[in-house]
Amino acid sequence: MKFAIQVNEGPYQHQASDTAFQFAKAAIENGHEIFRVFFYHDGVNNASRFTLPPQDDRHVVNNWASLDIKNAEGEPELVVCVAAALRRGMLDESEASKNSIEGNNLHPAFRISGLGQLIEAGIQCDRLVVFGD
């Protein structure tokens, strides 16, 4: 089956992102397709390449990156909502330079896009599962 996943909370503060990751991993291991993971609300904070957890803890951002979820064009299908991202200081190079900010923090396994990508995922997929607080 084709799954879409929505993640509403950031890493560490809530278990939502961990559970979503375990779900996605199990789905892939059992022969399903993860069409897209959409990070909304504080979920956008899962995409930071600045994240440095203690050595003895899991690395939530790297966990997501390890799933290597991409589309046929090779683009990441770990998608971060642009409006939610800007509001919370999650920037890729293009958004940073557009807004004259020095630096950026988006992990390369993710991409920033619009809310339409969430709706499209809901339409395209057999199931959409939401993980939140």
Partner: protein, 98 residues
């Protein structure tokens, strides 16, 4: 439908809201702090009938993490993450009571 509940009914009203609108064929899966609802406690009566009809599941990893394994209420079925995926496949639309 598959209804996931991720909070304790002692802390939040999400389980009650789920029970208010769950139809006769849907199942419930407790995840995260929702597994506190799978323990034998003062709120167990909320889900006893649904559990008796085999419609209540709990995520095993979350149950173990909270030390609830020896306290599990009757008729709760444990699943791992692969079992979670299977439930989503089998039961159609997933509703998250976040």
């Amino acid at each position: 439908m598959l209804h996931t509940v991720n909070k304790s009914s002692f802390e939040r009203n999400s389980l009650q809201s789920c029970l208010n609108t769950i139809d006769d064929t849907s199942v419930i899966l407790f995840i995260e702090d929702g597994v506190i609802n799978a323990a034998n406690n003062a709120n167990s009566s909320m889900i006893a009938d649904l559990a008796a009809s085999g419609r209540v599941f709990a995520l095993q990893g979350d149950v173990e993490a909270r030390g609830i394994s020896p306290k599990l209420a009757d008729n709760i079925k444990l699943v791992d993450y692969a079992g979670f995926v299977d439930l989503v496949v089998e039961h159609g639309t997933a509703v998250s009571w976040v």
